[in-house]
Amino acid sequence: MILQIALLAGLVLFSAAAVLFKDLIRSAVCLAVASLLLGIIFFRMGAPYAGAFEISVVAGLITVLFILTIALTRVGGDVKESKISSLAFPLFFVIFLAIDFFVMKSIVTKISSLPGTPETGSFGEVLWNRRTLDLVGQIAIIFAGVFSVLALFRKREHK
């Protein structure tokens, strides 16, 4: 449990670092590390498939897409961020942290819930047999993404 909390803390810290770093490549790498930590958290929660997906897709594919975009948009020069927001961040962060756990503990433990039925089957059976409509949706999403990118990068005849 301690390890899990340490991983969660690492996740939050690396995400905060991704926000605060001025250099975009460093931000993207921090985001990738945060995804990696999230994948390990999933694995330790008993969700190995989610963890594998998280690491390979989010820490891998999405990071590559980000780095590609950063490389393609490098030449224009850097964008000036306001210094105040970076400096004020730790203050707001600590305040939020203090309020957050206090509130969460009191609210969430009070949420009543139905007792669960024990789960049967394997992950594959759940995904393919019980949530089959999700797969149709996934196909639709992939179509949407592919056609969007094709449409947005099409050759333009006029200029």
Binding site: V12, A50, V57, T69, L72, E81, F89, I142
Partner: protein, 102 residues
């Protein structure tokens, strides 16, 4: 109901805060999208943690996997839009592209 649910929800809320803070204060288009990515992580953590707390981790995993597929499509589309904006204005500053008003 696992009593550790509130720990995970607490951390997810902090991640949400970090993501929304990024969206509110950053001016670089790609940084803004990194904020969206952080919010996505928070949401997938909420999904997985809820499933874990209910001992229903298999269904939650299926949801997280589907959610990650949605996220990939979204990232591809958004980055395509960002690259196109860069091609037009040669800058990634959100203040420079804001022309529409009213």
């Amino acid at each position: 109901m696992n009593s550790l649910w509130f720990v995970y929800m607490g951390f997810a809320a902090v991640l949400l805060f970090v993501g929304i803070y990024c969206l509110l204060t950053m001016k670089n288009l790609i940084k803004l999208f990194i904020g969206v990515e952080i919010v996505s992580k928070a949401v997938s953590l909420v999904l997985a943690a809820t499933g874990f707390a209910r001992q229903n981790i298999l269904v939650a995993q299926a949801l997280v996997v589907t959610y990650i597929v949605i996220e990939v499509s979204l990232v591809a589309t958004a980055l395509a839009i960002i690259i196109n904006i860069y091609r037009h204005t040669n800058s990634l500053d959100v203040r420079k592209i804001a022309k529409l008003k009213g």
